[in-house]
């Protein structure tokens, strides 16, 4: 079917963008370049959300991650003196060993996923008019997953507390 081929193509192009961006993020010497490649990765993820008909998530991904968090990243990078870091060795001594291990795991996972691909049941697309995206999000967050949502607020509180504790000179 042409539609499924198009769907597949869309997914693989995005996957290449996401993974390529991620690899570039960790291999660049200049931290600003890394941050910008991370933007590419996050854009790719936003594209995947669109592909899954989750427009709201895609918009939030772009607004919060690319708009907010990446700008903060760049601020921090510019505040911190990175000349010293640029001179240091970028990879540690075990990188070749790590690469071999990763490849082995990749082959292993690939093999199992290929064998088991048939056992993933694909969901049927919803019939008729779907509820608006934001409404579905609200139902998921405030009804089905109310408790994790509340605990996540506590998690963020602890994270802020920890960041302040570690960073402040005198408490």
């Amino acid at each position: 079917m042409p539609e499924s081929i198009l769907n597949g193509l869309f997914f693989y192009v995005l996957a290449v963008v996401i993974l390529g961006g991620a690899i570039m993020t960790i291999t660049r010497r200049n931290a600003v370049h890394s941050a910008i490649w991370l933007v590419v990765t996050l854009m790719g993820v936003a594209g995947l959300y669109l592909h899954l008909n989750a427009e709201f998530l895609a918009a939030v991904q772009i607004l919060v991650y690319i708009g907010g968090i990446m700008v903060l990243f760049l601020f921090v990078i510019m505040l911190v003196n990175l000349d010293e870091a640029a001179k240091q060795r970028q990879f540690n001594r075990q990188w070749s060993l790590a690469l071999i291990c990763t490849l082995v795991v990749l082959v292993e996972f690939g093999f199992f996923l290929m064998r088991g691909a048939g056992s993933f049941a694909f969901a049927e697309p919803g019939q008729g008019a779907l509820k608006p995206n934001t409404e579905l999000m609200a139902v998921a967050l405030f009804q089905d997953y109310l408790l994790p949502f509340e605990i996540a607020s506590l998690l963020l509180l602890v994270a802020i507390l920890g960041a302040v504790l570690m960073a402040k000179k005198e408490i």
């Binding site: 199992f112 049941a121 506590l154 602890v158």
Partner: protein, 490 residues
């Protein structure tokens, strides 16, 4: 009809809500306390734990009176069964003891801040929700709340290099292992279309044996969970984190978060992955043998007591995994009673190390224990009791946990495993007795008297009393543990 939040939900979460409120309360009152009165924060936190304990007791007795085995809440996201209640008791007790021994220690380190106690209470919240959780999202977030709190507590001595290094290592490796765990969970969700553990269990049970996807899911989840409980080959973070963390925090993380991670591991392996027992059993056997071997052999050559106890903690994780290998009622009972006993004996041993801390002496090298018998006979005798118990010598309580686990192995026909485990107990005796020999046989290096703060007095008294009491009169504790773990066996 559209009940988003019912009185039942509130009832189930009451202890957790109280702990959260007291945690926030500690942070607020900390602002008004000067440096001399920071200990009031500890008092507030202890009161919070006491309130939560009273609530838990009320819920427990109400459930017993009405004959209810479990209460579901939040649309099945959490379930309060006897298993969850039992482990919640362990978390409350271990948090209380950790707070008691932290007061003086943090004063000496000059890092006595109210946030320490607040974060400890938040960690307790994470642990309690973790043992109640029946939903992948809830479980994951509760786990992260717990470990994030422990990362911060590990790095609490901000001016100490060891503490910083330990926190950073623990954070990086912990985040990585959480990622692997989340990957395994996503596969479970992909196969069943639900995040509820019971639904996942039914969906996996319908699959053919040896399904490759189930195998990957098991591998990823097992790797993540083995990291959290410190089983070989995912144990490297543990000695560094235990050595670098403030000793009072080491005591806490060796018991509370470890018991919580282990309860989580039991839940995952017995409920959603229960039908795939044939697949994960060989993995579990291998990991538990490797864990006992490495933990016990590496402990022999340690010169730092905290590091030695870290390796001993690894070996204990190996024994506990054996309880899951046998997987029958006795094995589960053994795991439950092991943790109760472990709470008291391990925290007691760390409390003695905390008592050794002075301004000029960290007190965590084995040599610092030299001649403790002549300097302070009480501390030396208490340490002897805790070490005997850790080694599993009757009549101390430690014997009981090992006894049930070995018994369950024999019952299920794993004779070889039982023999190996018993052999390693002999090895463990050797390195525990190295500490004893230093305490009793060597001359003290200095004559400075030990002074016990009231908090450490209470902590040592309670832990020692319980270690001996459970050993001498185990019947009620065995019954309590035995009645609680049945709810997890499907």
């Amino acid at each position: 009809m559209n009940e988003y939040f019912s009185p039942i939900d509130f009832l189930v979460l009451k202890p957790v809500i109280l702990l959260t409120l007291f945690g926030i309360g500690v942070m607020l009152t900390d602002l008004f306390l000067d440096q001399q009165h920071k200990y009031m924060n500890a008092v507030t936190a202890l009161v919070g734990l006491a309130f939560a304990a009273v609530q838990l007791w009320l819920i427990q007795s109400e459930m017993a009176a009405q004959g209810v085995a479990q209460i579901e809440a939040f649309r099945g996201a959490v379930v309060l069964d006897r298993f969850a209640i039992y482990f919640s008791w362990i978390f409350l007790i271990s948090s209380a003891i950790a707070i008691l021994i932290a007061i003086r220690y943090l004063e000496i380190e000059q890092e006595h801040h109210g946030e320490h106690y607040a974060i400890m209470l938040f960690a307790a919240v994470g642990m309690m929700v973790l043992v109640m959780g029946m939903d992948l999202v809830t479980l994951f977030i509760a786990l992260e709340l717990m470990v994030l709190s422990v990362y911060i507590l590990t790095g609490f001595l901000r001016r100490d290099r060891r503490s910083n290094e330990a926190a950073l290592k623990y954070l990086l490796l912990g985040a990585f292992s959480s990622g692997i765990l989340a990957y395994g969970m996503s596969l479970l969700y992909g196969m069943s279309g639900s995040t509820n553990l019971n639904v996942i269990a039914d969906s996996l049970a319908a699959r053919p044996a040896g399904d490759p996807l189930v195998l990957i899911a098991i591998t990823a989840i097992a790797a993540g969970l083995f990291f959290k409980v410190g089983a070989v080959p995912f144990h490297q973070w543990l000695p560094d984190a235990y050595e670098g963390a403030p000793t009072s925090v080491t005591a806490f993380m060796s018991v509370g978060p470890k018991a919580a991670s282990f309860a989580f591991l039991l839940r995952m392996f017995l409920v959603p992955l229960g039908s795939a027992r044939e697949e994960w059993l060989p993995l579990l056997v291998g990991v538990s043998i490797a864990t006992m071997t490495l933990g016990n052999l590496a402990a022999i050559s340690q010169s730092n007591v905290k590091r030695l106890l870290a390796y001993s903690a690894i070996s204990h994780a190996g024994y506990l995994l054996l309880g899951l290998v046998s997987g029958n009622e006795t094995g589960m009972k053994g795991i439950a009673i092991y943790f109760l006993v472990y709470t008291f004996m391990n925290m007691g041993a760390f409390a003695v190390i905390v008592a050794l801390r002075r301004r000029d002496l960290i007190g965590d090298e084995i040599d610092d224990m030299a001649g403790l018998m002549y300097k302070c006979p009480t501390a030396a005798v208490l340490m002897l009791i805790f070490l005997l118990s850790l080694a599993g010598i009757p009549p101390t309580a430690g014997f009981l946990g090992k006894y049930f686990i070995f018994l369950s192995l024999i019952e299920t026909g794993h004779i070889t495993l039982a023999v190996i485990a018993v052999l390693y107990v002999a090895v463990a005796l050797y390195y525990y007795f190295r500490i004893v020999a230093v305490m009793f046989m060597r001359e003290p290096v200095d004559q400075e008297k030990l002074s016990f703060s009231p908090g450490i007095r209470i902590a040592l008294g309670v832990t020692a009393a319980m270690t001996i009491l459970i050993g001498l009169y185990p019947e009620p504790f065995i019954q309590f543990a035995g009645s609680t773990v049945l709810s997890i066996l499907r």
